[in-house]
Amino acid sequence: MTRRETPGTTTRQLERYAGLFAGRTRGMRSSAMRDLMAITERPEIISLAGGLPDTSTFPPESYAALMQTVAAESCARALQYGPTEGLAVVRRCIQQVMAAEGMTIDSDDVLVTTGGQQVIDLLCKTLIDPGDVIVAEAPTYPGAVPAFSAYEADVVQIEVDRDGMRVDDLEQTLDRLEAEGRRPKFIYTIPNFQNPAGVTMSLPRRERVVRIARERELIVLEDNPYGLLRYEGERLPTLFELDGGDFVVYLGTFSKILSPGVRLGWTVAPRPILEKMNIGKQSADLCSSSMTQHFVAAYFDAGPWDKYLRSLIEIYQRRRDVMLDALAEHFPRESEWTHPHGGLFIWATLPGYINTTDLLARALQDNVAFVPGRAAFVDGRGGSSMRLNFSGVNEDEIREGIRRIGAVVSEQVSLYGTLTGAHPAPAQEPAPREADPDLAEVLQLPQRPERAKRARP
């Protein structure tokens, strides 16, 4: 049997390749945490770690009918390349979606992208030189951090409280950066039902962020994947709506309102930025999938597009409520969590002596998983927090998953009490309160660098 030796199988060869890596790959790291997360995908695990919409709620017969329509009406075009900016018909669909959130746009100002994630990448590609500052929230969307790192951005994080990004901190930080002669290129924010914290930026803060952007001529990247998934409270205007599109680059996606599998998102940006992003997209992938764009077009053509969205809202709202109830029942009184008005995530914070990365290892023994908070910070903070997803699993699994996590947390609280001579916490006594929306203080965590012995593979 002749087989070519798999390239790169010896250490020496790998070192040789490593010598060829571009400097920017230094920020591209796999991690032990990622290795831990790999176990969460095993079938016996109740995973509250995903960020997944529940695609099993989409009726298979609708899917079949839509694909049938695409085959019958646009077979050749669906199989062909398309324009980089996206099919005109899809850009008109996007117009409808944005109108549902109070935004009026010209469909020529839209760039259809391969998921919302590509918008983050393309904006960095367009704006970021090595060392440029990106201002993000603390905690921030864990998936944005590798994109920022790949362009060697210096990420500065601004604390979040129950009203979203702390705008006073933002202004102080911008002043400090300016004094240091460093230029932030953009502010990255998820104003609605933030991933991972679950909080929503208040209207006064939205207005202030927009004012700051205009005064200082800074771009704001408004990432809004969850805005339409609101379970309570009044809709708030987006930053894009408040700004009129001068300084706000808007990021939208079909992932949470239709399907992440179609891999379609979009951006609306000031024309010069949009043109550069368009060129950047040409080099990345020429165009997003024509097949799924035709699928989306067929979906919008087949009936009211928000009918499925309404069914999702109903399902997710129940799941959120179940999770909030389960947290109140099973988490010890020393813990706190957010009360999201929409979206997919709850952010829970435990006492400072519990490290949620280690806790995950313990939780996995009981077949339950979450995302350790550290993933959402660039500076080692977040060590005692966790992100819990309620959209991807059913109500029974949420109850059982939270019960199991609560049990291991209680176990550690009690153990710590024993070790320090503190009064051990009553493990199973239900918390005598509703979920505490007062997240403001708990997000500021001590910056204690992880000290673990380096060992060997």
Binding site: T9, D35, A361, L364, A452, R454, A455
Partner: protein, 316 residues
């Protein structure tokens, strides 16, 4: 040529590393012309082993159930020859506390330590003995779970206030933990491979961390964050002593086939201390055993072939 089942993956926290080890072993075995059956171990393991009828099982598992004698016991029960150490040596090595007792009893130097299980704290008030332990071991103290193969859960306590937090973290991985004196010095890995005339120590690998990554165990997963020197730049006498102490540990724990002994060379005293022995060290592209074998002139495929031959009944 043999029919080899490569056991990999599983539920341990080192699943990813194991999958990488397994894939690489599988690839080498196929190139050597063996018939290979890759198995991600799970509920159907026994069934698949019975179906596959392998001549030998290559255990490329790391951590719980793979390295601690569990899978080995199962393979014994099924009558399937397997690579690496036997059940009892796996049990002794995978439990760091047991291994340290065995070594101490055999006169092999290992850093001072105390070990407790959870009940000692919960029911016997062991927390009140922490002060005395801290005094004896001196800060910084290393706190480790007894049974975790990788560096997960290993913490440095620099002050008494760090100790409870470190213990809570370590207990996330095991019901038993140890507090160990920290040996400051050079970090040496000595791989051992059985040869025609008994176990032989391969060239020593030294892990030299980049300054900022000194305590960051994730560095070990990545090329370029820890520099490995092989052979380590050591005085001949020190190197000889390190190899000797590694072989003593390997022998005292009753290991066979191959293994990797982690040793510290204390900066202040020049003394050597054995930290632990990994009965199934990593076999990935960045792992140390393959690197040491290569330095000894043994290509990865030859290393894999040797390990398989050692496992086959004729060799035992």
């Amino acid at each position: 040529m043999s029919r080899v089942a490569v056991l990999q993956g599983g539920r341990s926290l080192e699943r990813q590393v194991s999958l990488r080890s397994g894939a690489r072993v599988q690839d080498a075995l196929e190139r050597l012309g063996h018939e290979v059956l890759g198995l991600d171990v799970g509920h159907d393991l026994v069934e698949r082993l019975r179906e596959g009828e392998p001549d030998v099982a290559f255990v490329a598992l790391h951590g719980r159930d793979g390295e601690d004698g569990t899978v080995q016991e199962l393979l014994e029960a099924l009558g399937i020859p397997y690579t690496g150490s036997r059940v009892s040596a796996c049990i002794r090595s995978a439990d760091k506390v047991l291994a340290k007792h065995v070594m101490r009893d055999a006169g092999i130097p290992t850093p001072d330590f105390h070990s407790f299980n959870e009940t000692a704290f919960k029911e016997l008030g062991a927390a009140q003995a922490l002060g005395a332990i801290e005094e004896r071991l001196e800060f910084p103290i290393v706190v480790k779970p007894a049974g975790q193969g990788s560096a997960l859960g290993i913490k440095f306590a620099r002050t008494p206030a760090d100790v409870p937090t470190a213990l809570v973290a370590a207990f996330s991985y095991d019901r038993k933990v140890l507090l160990e004196r920290h040996v400051h010095g050079r970090d040496l890995a000595i791989s051992v491979l059985d040869g025609p005339s008994g176990p032989e120590a391969l060239p020593i690998v030294e892990a030299v961390p980049r300054e900022e990554d000194f305590y960051d165990f994730t560095a070990r997963y990545e090329i370029g964050r820890t520099r490995f020197e092989c052979p380590a730049q050591l005085d001949d006498a020190v190197a000889a002593r390190a190899r000797e102490v590694a072989l003593e540990a390997y022998g005292a724990l009753g290991c066979s086939g191959f293994g990797r002994v982690d040793v510290m060379l204390e900066e202040a005293t020049g003394d050597l201390f054995v930290l632990e022995l990994n009965p199934i060290p990593g076999l990935t592209e960045t792992s140390l055993l393959p690197q040491a074998a290569e330095a000894a002139g043994l290509a990865f495929a030859e290393l894999v072939e040797r390990i398989v031959q050692l496992a086959l009944p004729v060799a035992r």
